[in-house]
C-alpha cells in the first residue's frame, strides 16, 4: 500500500499535497496518509471525505496518525 507522509506539513498545504498525490492514483485504490496530531488530523480527513474519497480508518502510531482511505471517482 502506498504511504504518503504529510507529517511536518501544515494546513492547508497538507490537504493540497494530498490532492496532488491522489491525482496519480487509480480510483478504488487504498492508500494511507501520515498526519500530525492537532489541526492536521482534525481537518485533512474531513476535507478528503468532502472531496468524495472513502475514509476507511484512523490509527495512532508513535505520536502521529495513519489515515487509510480508498480513492473516490475523479
Amino acid at each position: 500500500m502506498q504511504t504518503i507522509d504529510l507529517r511536518g506539513v501544515s494546513c492547508p498545504t497538507n490537504f493540497v499535497k494530498a490532492k496532488l498525490e491522489l491525482e496519480d492514483i487509480e480510483t478504488g485504490t487504498t492508500v494511507e496518509f501520515l498526519l500530525d496530531d492537532g489541526e492536521p488530523v482534525k481537518n485533512v480527513p474531513r476535507s478528503l471525505k468532502a472531496e468524495g474519497h472513502k475514509l476507511l480508518g484512523l490509527k495512532e502510531k508513535d505520536g502521529h496518525y495513519v489515515l487509510t482511505l480508498e480513492k473516490g471517482e475523479d
Binding site: 482534525k42 480527513p45 471525505k49 468532502a50 476507511l56 496518525y65
Partner: protein
C-alpha cells in the same frame, strides 16, 4: 438652494447620515447578509463615481456606504441605484439590516442557510420602529461564530444535535479525534461515548464520519438575546436551541413585542439593558408561549463586559 426638492419618503427608514461639513451625507446601502451580486456592485460603483468622493466605505455591518453625497442629490442617487436592485438601509431606533456569514452553500463549516435567514428577516422586519433604540440581528452558520452573533440584540448560531447509529460505526475514532470540545471519547468496545453536556452542536462528528453513522437528530439555530457593543458592552445569553429556520422571523418578532412593551417610557435603551432591569424570566415566559419546544428552562442575564476597567472612576 431654495429650489432643491427632496422626496422625503426616501428618508423614512433613515440611511442618510449627516457627515462633517455642510450639505454632505453618507448614504448607507441595504446589503442583508453582506451578499452583493456583481451586477449590483458595478451599479453602486457608477453611482459612487458620479456623486461621491471617489471611494466607498465597507461598514462593519456589511453595508457599502456612499461617502460625501450632497443632500441635493438624494433623489438622483436613490433613482440611479435602482429602486428594486439596491435599496437604502436604515439608522436610528429601528430594526437594522441583518448581518450573516457566507452560510452553508459554499462554506464547509456552515450548518444552516444564514443567507436565506438574513433575507427573510430583512424582508419582513427591516426598518420596523422599536420605539426605543436600534435593534440588530446577526446570523452565524456554525459555532465558530465569525459574525460574533452574541453581540447582537438577537444573535442566531447554526447548530446540529448529533445521534449515533452504532450499527454503522466502524470504530475508526475519527469523530473523537475531530471533537474539539471533548464531548466524544472512544469507549472500550470501540464505540464512541457521547458526553452530551459538552457538545456545542458544531456537527464536526457528522462531517468527518466515514460511514454516516453520526446523523443529525435536530438542526436549527441557537438563539442568544441581549447583546450589544459600544460604550457599555453586553454579551447576549441563551434563550432557545434548535429553533427551526422557518420560525426565525416569528421568533424575532416576538422578542420585539416584549421589548416594545417592557421598554415603554424607558427612552433610548437597548433590549439587553431592559433585560438587566426586568430580569430574564418574563422574556423566557413570553417566548415560551409560542415557542415552548425551543425555549430553554433557564438562562442568565446579559453578561456585562468591563472594557473601561481599570480606567473607570470609582
Amino acid at each position: 438652494m431654495a429650489d432643491v426638492k427632496i422626496d422625503l419618503r426616501n428618508l423614512k427608514a433613515g440611511g442618510f447620515i449627516k457627515e462633517r461639513g455642510k450639505d454632505l451625507f453618507t448614504v448607507r446601502l441595504r446589503v442583508p447578509g453582506g451578499r452583493m451580486s456583481v451586477e449590483r456592485l458595478s451599479r453602486i460603483a457608477s453611482v459612487a463615481q458620479k456623486y461621491g468622493k471617489g471611494f466607498v466605505h465597507l461598514s462593519v455591518r456589511q453595508s457599502i456606504e456612499l461617502i460625501n453625497i450632497n443632500f441635493a442629490n438624494f433623489d438622483a442617487v436613490v433613482a440611479e441605484l435602482g429602486e428594486e436592485q439596491q435599496k437604502v438601509a436604515s439608522c436610528g431606533a429601528r430594526v437594522r439590516v441583518p448581518t450573516a456569514c457566507g452560510g452553508c452553500e459554499y462554506n464547509p463549516n456552515g450548518l444552516v442557510d444564514t443567507q436565506k435567514s438574513a433575507l427573510d428577516v430583512d424582508e419582513k422586519l427591516f426598518g420596523t420602529p422599536t420605539g426605543h433604540h436600534k435593534f440588530k440581528v446577526g446570523f452565524a452558520g456554525c459555532p465558530f461564530d465569525c459574525p460574533k452573533s452574541a453581540t447582537n440584540d438577537v444573535g442566531l448560531q447554526g447548530a446540529i444535535w448529533p445521534e449515533l447509529d452504532a450499527e454503522q460505526c466502524i470504530n475508526c475514532g475519527l469523530c473523537a479525534k475531530s471533537c474539539t470540545e471533548g464531548a466524544l471519547t472512544m469507549g472500550e468496545n470501540g464505540i464512541p461515548l457521547f458526553a452530551e453536556e459538552k457538545c456545542i452542536y458544531c456537527g464536526d462528528c457528522l462531517k468527518v464520519c466515514p460511514t454516516g453513522a453520526w446523523k443529525e437528530q435536530k438542526r436549527g439555530y441557537t438563539v442568544r438575546i441581549g447583546g450589544k457593543w459600544g460604550r457599555s458592552p453586553l454579551v447576549g445569553t441563551l434563550y432557545a436551541t434548535f429553533l427551526p429556520e422557518d420560525r426565525v422571523v416569528d421568533f424575532i418578532a416576538s422578542v420585539l413585542e416584549w421589548y416594545k412593551e417592557k421598554a415603554e417610557g424607558a427612552g433610548r435603551v437597548r433590549i439587553g439593558d431592559i433585560i438587566l432591569r426586568e430580569g430574564c424570566e418574563t422574556l423566557l415566559a413570553h417566548l415560551r408561549k409560542d415557542f415552548p419546544e425551543y425555549v430553554v428552562d433557564r438562562t442568565i442575564p446579559p453578561q456585562i463586559i468591563q472594557t473601561q476597567l481599570p480606567l473607570q472612576r470609582q
